[in-house]
Amino acid sequence: MADTTVEALPEDCLCHVISFTSPRDACRSAVVSAAFRGAADSDGAWENFLPPDYREIISRSVSPVEFSSKKDLFRRLSSAPLLIDGGKKVNLIVGFSEVVELRMVCWLEIYGKISIEMLSPNTTYGAYLIIQLTERAFGLDVEPSEVSIEIGSYKTRGTIYLKCDLLKRQGLVDTLREGEDRVVCVREDKWLEVELGEFYNYGNHKEVKMWFREVKGVHLKGGLLVEGIELRPKQ
């Protein structure tokens, strides 16, 4: 027994271990040795990194999703947003005409810009992302999301956690967590409002750019309904 190494473990056993790590760790594990790679690339390990309902999601894709293994599928789903149900867009601009559901992405980035002419001069504005989390929301609260605003050389940055479980269960605002300086509010219409930042409109710039992104964790995330970005004058 003393000379037993884990490489002598049955592959499915090693799969268990790797399936509890992360996509990143699993990819690096493939480099350990050729034998280790068998487990690190296996469907058994990668099944865990895919969302539980991935079969249903890919069945609704605009174009057929073909893949040779679960790892390959993960790569495909991670490299580009999936267009479903007739191809709803994921790159958003302020005030789009319909609600967009983000089903599943790896890098989440919502970007909006608006011409400054549409705003009142000499006024402080707040920019808010209007969202809802669906029942199946996942992966959104693993890493903090970044929010930022840019107008000319003026820039603001902030971070926020979208707490899937808490928001789903309570539909309420949660207390601030460490490293988080923006707040999620529940509106009267039950949509959630994430403050992206604020800025003063001196009227001397052309446009305002706004971001909401979570690109640090490369895990898959989804279940975010996005209505749009709202700009309101602040008191």
């Binding site: 268990h16 760790d25 990819c27 040795s33 490369v218």
Partner: protein, 167 residues
């Protein structure tokens, strides 16, 4: 030597099984605990005598698995207590010990413990250098430098600026 597990006297009236490790130590275990292992259950269904010899599990590892089985077979313990026992069970254990445990629980088909141990190993493995994994798992790198470079290239995103650990 017969080592009774801690529930020995209480379960004396119940049927017991003797399990022998590969290094010859024998453990007296209640049958209700033993059958939580799918493999042991099958063996007990097929044979008359109550002695099971496990040729590939050492005494230290076997003692740990039996402590787990006995705790989970104890109807007097609440599920919460069993869960906290599980957490306690893997916390602070060396990676090397966990390797033998995961191997034993896989052989004995103790699914829940196998998952708990695998999860713990995964937590330790996260964000570790490839060299760390090779060392801890005692694995020889059998790639040619070209083959290794090719695999690294396939998933270049897995090697980002994140600091990887080597201990």
């Amino acid at each position: 030597m017969v080592t009774t597990d801690e529930k020995g006297p209480l379960t004396a009236k119940k049927k017991s099984v003797i399990i022998r490790s590969c290094d010859g130590d024998e453990f007296l275990v209640s049958e209700s605990a033993a059958v939580l292992s799918t493999s042991l259950k099958k063996i007990l269904e097929e044979k008359e005598d109550r002695l099971i010899h496990l040729s590939d599990i050492d005494n230290k590892t076997l003692a740990m698995v039996i402590a787990y089985l006995s705790t989970h077979a104890d109807d007097g313990l609440s599920d919460d207590l069993k869960r906290s026992f599980d957490q306690e069970f893997v916390s602070g254990k060396e990676f090397d010990v966990l390797k033998y445990l995961v191997l034993a629980t896989d052989t004995l088909q103790v699914t829940c413990l196998c998952y708990t141990v695998a999860k713990k190993m995964a937590d330790i493995m996260k964000n570790k250098l490839v060299e760390w994994v090779r060392r801890e798992f005692d694995i020889q790198n059998d790639y040619t430098p070209e083959a290794e470079a090719e695999i690294r290239r396939l998933d270049a995103w897995a090697w980002d600026d994140r600091q990887l650990e080597d201990d």
